[in-house]
Symmetry: C3
Subunit: 179 residues, 3 copies
Amino acid sequence: MSQHDAIEPAAESVSSETVRRRLREHDLALPTPWQLPAGVKIPASFVRVVGTRAFVSGHVPIAPDGSIADRAGRVGEGIDLPTAQQAAVEALLGVIASVERAVGDLERVRAWCRLWGMVNAANGFVDFPAVFNPASQLLVDLFGEAIGTHARVAVGLTGLPWNAPVEIEAELELHPATG
Amino acid sequence: MSQHDAIEPAAESVSSETVRRRLREHDLALPTPWQLPAGVKIPASFVRVVGTRAFVSGHVPIAPDGSIADRAGRVGEGIDLPTAQQAAVEALLGVIASVERAVGDLERVRAWCRLWGMVNAANGFVDFPAVFNPASQLLVDLFGEAIGTHARVAVGLTGLPWNAPVEIEAELELHPATG
Amino acid sequence: MSQHDAIEPAAESVSSETVRRRLREHDLALPTPWQLPAGVKIPASFVRVVGTRAFVSGHVPIAPDGSIADRAGRVGEGIDLPTAQQAAVEALLGVIASVERAVGDLERVRAWCRLWGMVNAANGFVDFPAVFNPASQLLVDLFGEAIGTHARVAVGLTGLPWNAPVEIEAELELHPATG
């Protein structure tokens, strides 16, 4: 696959069951959907569904129980590249869990349109694509190229909520709801 | 309302008159749509309408007369959290004013899809969600949950135009134009 | 043209041939579509087409041969405003080349919806709109106002991949594919 290959979403779909099985083959699992810390209320949706479009709020890395992963710090300072890559995968798994919760079953996903990968970056760190490559590859592994391929941004920011090392925002296209 | 509640836009709509009345109940008002400083020309649109989608350019806080609000500085340095929250509300009001100007009446708005909240952040400031929570809550108060709920990003950047403390970019879904 | 003028895309279209002719009149040309450095593989698409929407990954400035332009550095430190403006044009040309490669001929482009302009910014640099104004104007010159007008963000980040001075991400609306 080249970055220039035109991959249009096809009619196929990949069920939650298939995604969970493929995750097990990677020794991974979806977390419980994100729970905000006690007392924190955000008047926004983790996933906003408008017709066949789904807009995903920025997700920091999530622990298996749905709490914010205990991984605060800047990439290039306290957080090294392998840890940042793992954090990006945890953020992506949180995104997938929120999408599943919002749409019922992941077979509703017609295409991942774009991922915005943000790094809480120390001055001088520039290897942003490397931080998100394992997460991007995982998305393609889980959903296949036709659904999982996505446009991407991978950049460095001054700060992220809860001093998280990375954050992922995303947009998806859904199959129309039936019934 | 939980962040995981699936809130799909309904057929209802909320008119400009209703939005303005609700703003008065909050002791707020829409500003004059944003006017750039004399001599500044930007070859882009404040709101780009493509079919039923509206893309809103990044908006800094706007004063009632449509000029850029006199509030330059970094959040966590010269600008404290309450001031940043007020600035975020002023940016959101500027966004709403530009949308109204672009679409005629706010009853055209079917759904707020996403808000991107950006903070001109001092090193060490991380409470980005708190900066935009009052603005997000106001949007839901003004338009109701079905229309006003949105996905959100709230992150810290190195700098914003005119050294503004915050900036908001947004995407909306519109009802089709009639006539 | 005012930033508040409502410019809806019309039925017209502008072919690749016309875009290339207009570029020659500006003493510019499209680069070879972006080639990543040897050994760098990114499991994402430069342009993700989903139905009539095209999502463009973040593009750094591209040299005529498709390699990453040799222009690393921070705007406001090693990179001055005119150089940053030229880099933004080179990033935009790379975006257009990737879009052409993805859709076949630029006559498929119905509307440029939004450009996200990101600056690798030194502390204290705030003139982000100026960095992207020549690129935004060029887009309108090449495609005309009905197609080329766009919403825009122009902000400063801590870091960009390959320490590039600027990066542009974009979304477009396409005419439906025929045949």
